[in-house]
Assembly symmetry: none
């Protein structure tokens, strides 16, 4: 890709409806997408290449991290990104190459030292921000700098900056109430991992001391240690000036990993598309992320998921009016309401450009299964978009 990519004026949009893929509740029924009333997506399908994309591997349900890495063209089995890294990037922290990041939950510890609430009663964001302030300037960790940043409600992120750190560490989060927090342990024999484990445990100890008078957030649980994976950027690989429109920190973080510029999104789904319109002239690639379909799928709410898809459908004319040269509409993974969780199923994929081989009258899992692209790895999506936008040179004489 690096060798074949060329800079052109054409513009690409990658519209990701999180957890788009589904299965029928009953074998004879329709999926969430098929049941949704989507006149705009259907009329787009009539002019598009269709297929079912697979995020990671057959039968494997992808997390949002691997799901998006694949959509962005990175091998999700090669590039493993710790949750802490995504959180740090998502809150806009400029993570350096040697920084060690982890997710941090404010939690409640009872008098016996056991965790009684892993989310500290879901404290409001204002309280969370206050506690983060309290923590921020009060660590003494042997010359290692510590940054605590607030994410949302009870969630925050910690970044350690120093020489010779490693993310080969276990979590302190016991995952269930009624247990003591776990000591953080190295998962390999390196001196870096040993040093980092000691550091992280000292951090927890000092945080407990700082928070001991607080209630209900009198401790922190740490998990998802990670370091910057140093992905080659969209500019390096594709010569693209890429921008991201996403409302959730994790997706912003994923976009930052690929070197995308984060655009300030407007209110709700319509607001995201308004942001797209406002910034259309400034970039040649736009990643637009719509979150709530996934949440509806996780709640098992088939109707709500269909409804959110319909809300996105209503915005399709906004995108088409801008005149993208290549537009993909897909998801990062399936989240069937029937499963109430991420799943391994193929994700409906539609690619619209002037150079397509249309095969169906509507957008849905079954039309996609019979599409020109068949079932294919999500990692190929960026290549397809680059090809359709005429941004790739020919390979070989």
């Amino acid at each position: 890709m690096r060798e074949l990519s060329v800079k052109t004026d054409s513009k690409i949009v990658l519209l990701v409806i999180d957890g788009l893929g589904g299965v029928p509740m009953d074998p004879s029924g329709e999926t969430e997408l098929e049941a949704a009333n989507t006149p705009n997506l259907d009329s787009l399908a009539v002019r598009s290449d269709l297929g079912l994309s697979r995020p990671v591997a057959a039968g494997v349900s992808a997390g949002s991290g691997p799901g998006h890495l694949a959509l962005f063209g990175y091998d999700p089995l090669r590039y493993v990104v710790g949750r802490g890294v995504l959180s740090a990037l998502g809150v806009g922290f400029e993570l350096g190459e040697n920084d060690l990041a982890a997710r941090l939950n404010f939690a409640t510890k009872d008098s016996s030292g056991k965790i009684s609430d892993r989310r500290a009663g879901r404290i409001p964001s204002e309280k969370g921000a206050e506690l983060v302030e309290l923590l921020n300037e009060n660590f003494d960790l042997d010359g290692v700098e510590t940054f605590v940043r607030h994410e949302k409600e009870y969630r925050a992120v910690v970044v350690f900056r120093g020489e010779g750190l490693s993310d080969a560490l276990t979590d302190s989060d016991p995952q269930r109430v009624g247990r003591e927090p776990l000591p953080i342990k190295p998962t390999d024999d390196s001196p870096e991992a040993e040093k980092s484990a000691a550091l992280a445990n000292a951090f927890v100890e000092q945080a407990d001391e700082i928070l001991k008078e607080e209630h209900p957030a009198n401790t922190v649980l740490v998990r998802g240690f990670g370091m910057h994976p140093n992905l080659p950027s969209f500019e390096e690989i594709y010569e693209l000036d890429a921008a991201a429109i996403a409302s959730y920190p994790m997706y912003k973080g994923l976009a930052r990993l690929a070197g995308m510029e984060l655009l300030k999104e407007g209110e709700g789904i319509a607001g995201e598309f308004e942001t797209l319109r406002e910034n259309w002239d400034e970039y040649d690639f736009f990643f637009v992320h719509v979150k709530p379909a996934d949440a509806a799928g996780e709640d098992g709410d088939f109707e709500r998921k269909s409804g959110i898809i319909e809300e996105v459908d209503a915005q399709i004319p906004v995108v088409l009016d801008l005149g993208p040269d290549a537009l993909a509409v897909t998801g990062d993974h399936a989240t069937p309401a029937k499963l109430k969780s991420h799943s391994w199923h193929g994700v409906p994929f539609l690619l619209y450009s002037p150079y397509t081989l249309p095969t169906a009258e509507s957008f849905g899992e079954r039309p996609c299964a019979g599409g020109a692209l068949g079932a294919f790895p999500a990692e190929e999506i960026m290549g397809l978009l680059m090809g359709h936008a005429l941004k790739l040179n020919r390979y070989g004489a």
Copy 2:
């Protein structure tokens, strides 16, 4: 493949319609193949496996070299073949392992030393052959043997034979008129590349001296340096006695790389099939290459491309009368008239044998998209042909 292949009496035909794949000019319309009136291919499709084959990678338009390597079962990303090698093999030159080959254009240099015509006014083939004669015996290159061979019109090929040569070299062709020819430079630090660059520059200098009284062809431009990639042959991999019927030098060159015998083709498309008939008893694998569909696609001439496909269709009974055990009809890449160039689109693929799973009533991109083979890498075609011809042992107990 090497371990599983067995020699049998069955015969395979791989019929390649260059640039076969297409897209509709309008989303609701048909492709070149779908629009063509192809009663023979359609009735064959009813008895065949169908699919869409992909030459190199998603979104990537393949050159003819990589496109054919994939059809022949070689990984086109692993085996990179310089244009010079294809030209040398195409004119029937027996390229040795250490030979260095390059494409050579006769061109016109003006009095200021700048190139005024990169093709020397497209001199006729007779003139080109004459100039090649003139060059052929007149080089003094430090013990390195030099062979110049005529290709067609203003095109020729040069082969250097000596120890320690390298193809890590830039072209002398400036690609645009009004510029001086470029000095040939090594692209790596090896002594071989340095030696080869000096050698190639000395060759150009001596050629200029020899041609200085000629008009308009008073210089040569050199490009596409390459050395023999040493592909394992069809005999080694598949135990096949393979023959090629192709009218263009490059495709002959590609077939030679795979160790195929070049058969003298008759006149036009019908002549190629006549050659197939005449040589039927002598080989067990035939690669038949039909060129003009690609040229029609590159010209953006939808109707002409359909017409050439119809011309091939008329020859299908000739092939069927011979009774091939496995017959594939496909292309090396798509060349949609809409794009006027090679493209990344799936290439219609049809495999006829007694052991197929037919799925459609006609041959075309859309019936192929819904076929038993789906979308699949072109590298798998040789395996499919070998399997259908019952030339592969079972793998494992």
